[in-house]
């Protein structure tokens, strides 16, 4: 609930409000608020400092109250999750109702947002930047992987990334051969390793490499050298930024339907396997690891260009262009 609390602090505590507003130079025409937490701050800023002229866009990444309820339920049980979920819902509804434009990352989220928004809700899927792979990045990746054949999981320490991992792999890591490794890049790597469940998963310890936080160059190296990418996400709304990265990497991808949300058009793409059940997910990994390295045809490569930010952000740019300027307060 730190996100929610920071939002409350920034909008309601005058000292914090002043400190934060001092970071903003001039009067923006449009303010895009990513996630709902700081939307109340932005509303106060527009009212008090921008004479009501700035347009507000709410960029939803998730249906936050639903996700937070799942996370808190896992930690403290359903009864105690009710109040925090309600507070987040209020915060989220304030953003949806107060925005001049709402962006959703998936059609699923857009449906919910439209039922509460008083303005247009547009679909702006997550995307990826085309980055270059360097020899240095590959060398750094090799230093982590020992040039073994790897499946890569890129994830932050966001709780669903950890719980999803253990839901999918908790029974045992039989899907990788003794010569293969699962590399976890990002903060999830160390969180998974220090979780009390880690040591109890048969076969995991010897097949697991935590890369932890890596440089952008090394991440590109890992995406280049990996044989497959796994997305064992079982909870959450919205879309997963890492899914776009995984699809763009052009390697085998094994993902849950939750991880593929917003990227459904790729569910049957070359090298993509979508599995919901843990057993089927693990078997799909083994099958993918036994296949030849994925080689995409020109048509597939061209299709995947729709994952780039330059494509995914087009609806947002058009919508911003179409926003009516606000009439300044008298």
């Amino acid at each position: 609930m730190e996100d929610w609390a920071i939002g409350q602090l920034a909008s309601k505590d005058d000292d914090v409000f002043d400190l934060l507003k001092s970071e903003i130079a001039g009067t923006p025409d449009v303010i895009h608020v990513e996630q709902p937490w700081l939307f109340a701050f932005a509303q106060r800023f527009v009212a008090e400092c921008a004479q009501g002229k700035s347009k507000l866009i709410y960029g939803s990444e998730n249906i936050e109250h639903s996700l937070k309820r799942q996370i808190i339920e896992d930690l403290v049980g359903g009864v105690r999750a009710r109040e925090p979920a309600h507070l987040v819902l209020e915060c989220e509804l304030n953003a949806v109702r107060g925005a001049d434009l709402v962006c959703a990352t998936s059609t699923h989220d857009a449906t919910w947002l439209r039922s509460h928004a008083s303005t247009e809700v547009i679909l702006v899927p997550n995307g990826v930047r085309a980055r270059e792979t360097t020899i240095t990045g590959i060398a750094e990746a090799n230093a982590t992987t020992g040039h073994l054949k790897i499946a890569l999981y890129c994830a932050s320490a966001h709780p669903p990334n950890i719980s999803g991992f253990f839901e999918i792999f908790g029974r045992g890591m039989g899907c990788l051969s003794p010569d293969e490794r699962l590399v976890v890049a990002g903060d999830a790597g160390l969180h998974i390793q220090s979780d009390s469940r880690f040591a109890k998963v048969p076969g995991l310890k010897g097949r697991y490499i935590s890369a932890g936080q890596v440089s952008e160059e090394c991440l590109q190296g890992l995406l280049h050298v990996c044989h497959a990418l796994v997305l064992p996400i079982t909870k959450g709304e919205g879309t997963n930024l890492k899914t776009a990265e995984a699809l763009w990497a052009g390697r085998h991808v094994i993902a849950t339907p939750v991880a593929m949300r917003g990227f459904e058009e790729y569910s049957c793409a070359a090298g993509v396997i979508m599995r919901n059940e843990a057993v089927a997910f693990r078997q799909a990994i083994r099958e993918a690891m036994a296949k030849d390295p994925l080689s995409l045809g020109l048509e597939d490569l061209q299709h995947r260009r729709s994952l780039l930010w330059e494509t995914t952000l087009k609806p947002l740019i058009a919508a911003i262009d179409g926003l009516e300027p606000r009439v300044a307060f008298a």
Partner: protein
């Protein structure tokens, strides 16, 4: 391919290190040694032990060594585990020398011993050979090496799954064994080409576990375990005679929680409490007390209702066991789970009536010849025991059915099933080709690993070397696949070598001609080997500024 067929090596590490009377698994290992060597011949069926990180031929020490040879042996070879393998060979040599000296009338004081140049390879399993490992493999380090032995040395490994009790019923085992055994079954699955299962139930349990874990499904074959008791000629001891003076019911099994001796104790308690006043037969437990039964054994000892009715016998010889089976009124086996259930088979082979639980694989052993009862219900066991005691005609009828219907399983049949599996697998080629992804399976000095490929970086030197794999003698084609990243017409040299580069099997200098265009690189060459190689290697040297990517190296038999 080599002219000689694949050998089968039986890993006898468990038996060699076993110093107590044989238990089930040791008996299986020894029975397979005896019968497979008979069926395949000693040249094609050899024994080996895990020693110094590899499997090495095991030649059993002659049982009776003449004192003079024994003395000489101690002078030449120190006693100690490091020399265990060489001692039998020296005994053989000394025996030969002794006979030569005797033939010469005591004049010969030297003897020529010829060590064949390829002797080293015949002491170890060669590529394409089968390794049969059916011992206590979860307690031995070699299991962790099976995957690499198959991958790098080309061994075709057949293992055995006895049961999944530690995984399915860890509560009946000592400590937290579920994880250890799950990991063991993972090693087994990744390292084996085929897995023998001692029952359909075990096969079902094992394949279900592989499915759950996402582990590879190997070929599985159910092997029937022999239930013919080894013949013995020892005398019947006093304790056995005393215990069998009055009629008795027999339960042969180690005394542990899973075997469910408790339900029988409770059944006896119920019978006595009911006031069953008839001559209740003695209940004899034959087996070693194990873990987790202390309270039960104390209850049996203290309970005034059952005191004297339940007797334990331990350290029973094969002769005594056969005697006990013969003398028993009937046999009983209430186990909560079994991977097979040898005592049920043994009792049936002796023509006895059997009452057993229907758990695990037991119905596979007994078919419809056994009277099955629910394992957890002592009242049903009490009722059935009472019925059998009050109506001996029920026992006689059951025995008649058993004698007419039970076909004892022979160890030779167990071995035949294994032999047929080996023959079937041998019909599929193995050990005679390598399909290598350069980036994972090979090494580079001047390039960089790039996932499955190796990329040149512009430096001159060894772009590719390895994989140091074993390969059988024969004629082969090597194909190096990759791509040219930038037009470059400097020569690329490719060598195929073994014995750490001492033997060069083939060399070529490849240079793109002016007519060749495109990015594909495909270099082919042929070579022959007259001996098996333990460390075949493909070397690729490039000049400065080469811009290549090597993806795949395939070594394929041209037989």
């Amino acid at each position: 391919m080599s002219e000689r067929g694949a050998r089968t090596w039986i890993n006898v590490t468990t038996s060699v290190n076993w110093t107590r009377p044989p238990v089930g698994i040791v008996r299986v290992e020894r029975a397979l040694v005896e019968h497979l060597q008979k069926q395949l011949g000693q040249d094609l069926c050899r024994l080996c032990v895990w020693k110094d990180d590899r499997f090495t031929e095991w030649v059993p020490m002659a049982t009776a060594i003449p004192p003079r040879i024994s003395q000489a042996l101690d002078v030449i070879i120190p006693r100690g585990p490091s020399f265990d393998i060489v001692r039998p060979y020296v005994v053989k040599a000394l025996g030969k020398y002794s006979r030569a000296r005797a033939r010469s009338g005591g004049t010969a004081d030297e003897m020529e011993l010829v060590v064949p140049l390829d002797g080293a390879s015949s002491l170890h399993p060669a590529p394409g050979d089968f390794l049969l490992s059916v011992g206590l493999d979860w307690d031995n380090v070699y299991t962790k090496h099976f995957f690499q032995l198959a991958k790098k040395q080309g061994l075709r490994i057949i293992t055995c799954c006895y049961d999944l009790i530690p995984v399915l019923f860890p509560q009946y085992c000592v400590g937290e064994v579920a994880q250890k055994f799950t990991e063991y079954f993972l090693e087994l699955s990744w390292g084996s080409e085929a897995v023998l299962c001692i029952s359909e139930q075990t096969r079902k349990d094992y394949t279900r576990l592989c499915h759950e874990l996402g582990a590879p499904m190997r070929r599985t074959v159910v092997i029937p375990l022999g239930d013919n008791l080894p013949s013995g000629e020892s005398v019947i001891g006093d304790s056995v005679r005393a215990a069998t003076e009055c009629p008795f019911i027999l339960f042969v099994s180690t005394i542990e929680r899973r075997k469910n001796h408790e339900v029988l104790y409770r059944a006896y308690h119920i019978l006595r409490r009911r006031g069953f006043s008839g001559p209740l037969p003695r209940l004899i437990f034959v087996g070693m007390p194990g873990w987790g039964v202390g309270d039960l054994l104390q209850d049996i000892e203290l309970d005034p209702l059952t005191r004297g009715s339940i007797v334990q016998l331990n350290h029973v010889s094969d002769t005594e066991l056969a005697y006990l089976y013969r003398q028993a009124l009937f046999c009983i086996f209430p186990s909560l789970y079994e991977g097979w259930g040898l005592p049920v088979g043994e009792a049936l082979a002796m023509g006895k009536a059997v009452v057993a639980s229907g758990e695990g694989s037991l119905p596979e052993v007994g078919g419809d010849l056994v009277h099955y009862l629910p394992a957890w219900n002592p009242y049903e066991w009490a009722d059935t025991i009472q019925a059998y005691v009050e109506h001996p005609e029920l026992i006689a009828e059951s025995e008649r059915k058993v004698r007419a219907g039970y076909k004892p399983r022979q160890w030779s049949d167990t071995a035949r099933t294994v032999r047929e599996l080996i023959e079937e697998l041998a019909a599929t080629s193995a050990g005679d080709s390598l399909d290598l992804l350069a980036g994972y399976d090979m090494s580079t000095e001047c390039g960089i690993y790039s996932g499955p490929s190796i990329l040149s970086t512009g430096s001159a030197g060894l772009l590719l070397f390895g994989p140091h794999r074993a390969l059988r003698r024969g004629r082969y084609r090597v194909c190096v696949y990759g791509s040219v990243l930038r037009e470059h017409r400097e020569p690329i040299s490719i060598d195929v070598v073994s014995r750490q580069g001492l033997t060069i099997h083939a060399s070529t200098n490849y240079q793109r001609s002016r007519e060749e265009s495109g990015i594909d690189l495909n270099i082919e060459m042929l070579f022959s080997m007259e001996r098996d190689a333990e460390d075949i290697e493909v070397l690729c040297r490039v000049m400065k500024d080469a811009a290549l990517q090597i993806d795949r190296v395939v070594v394929q038999s041209c037989a």
